[in-house]
């Protein structure tokens, strides 16, 4: 299904084509956008990107886990995890296109 992995380089190329910036300026913007989002999340803020989705940070309490190999119980320390909730627009776009692709085969 997945034939290509999109990376920063592809996002940079898209920005470069969309606006009149150089490739290096475009690369800096891609990085800055990701960094700005990361910093907000670090502060525990929720980041909402309309028509794309919402990133939010959740606090996990300590719980008892188990090493699946040895069966030994180990405490899993409290931690913060990132969750992404896709918007309906994104889900619909993916479903529409993937369904078309699946039916075309």
């Amino acid at each position: 299904m997945a034939d290509k992995t999109v990376t920063r380089a592809d996002l940079t190329e898209a920005v470069y084509r969309a606006v009149g910036l150089s490739r290096s300026e475009s690369a800096i913007f891609v990085e800055t956008i990701l960094e700005e989002i990361t910093q907000r999340l670090e502060q525990g803020e929720t980041v909402k990107l309309s028509s794309f989705g919402t990133f939010s940070v959740r606090d996990k309490k300590e719980r008892i886990g188990r090493n699946p190999k040895t069966g030994v119980e180990v405490p899993i320390t409290p931690r913060r995890v990132l969750s992404f909730r896709p918007s309906h627009v994104l889900k619909d776009q993916i479903n529409r296109q993937m369904l078309k692709k699946a039916e075309g085969q």
């Binding site: 290509k4 992995t5 891609v30 956008i33 990701l34 980041v47 909402k48 794309f52 969750s83 993937m98």
Partner: protein, 110 residues
């Protein structure tokens, strides 16, 4: 933070550019990720995280209220996994103040 606030922040940091261009840059980045996912592709942003698309097969579900069986079509769902650096940054300890230590040290002799 919402998208317009992100645009505003970037516009303040880049007074040489029009805000509408910044908006176009931000939209391009997320539109590009969305377009890649809609093709079934994976998007990997080292340090930040990776987006992928998971396929859910068609199944027979049940209306929890009536118990009636309902057919659920196959579907595709976007999935995000935080990157290593992102996970570490979210769990970084706040800088320790040494107030407690200095409180305990009462009779320091010079």
């Amino acid at each position: 933070m919402i998208k317009s606030e992100l645009v505003e922040k970037l516009a303040n940091d880049n007074p040489q550019l029009f805000a509408r261009d910044i908006e176009k840059i931000v939209n391009t980045v997320f539109d590009e990720i969305a377009a890649a996912l809609a093709e079934g592709n994976r998007v990997e942003l080292r340090g930040f995280g990776a987006f992928s698309v998971k396929h859910r097969a068609a199944r027979l579900g049940r209306n929890p209220r009536t118990g009636e069986a309902v057919a659920i079509d196959e579907k595709w769902t976007p999935f995000f996994k935080a990157g290593k650096e992102m996970r570490e940054r979210l769990n970084r300890k706040p800088p320790q103040t040494d107030n407690q230590d200095s409180d305990n040290v009462v009779d320091v002799k010079f």
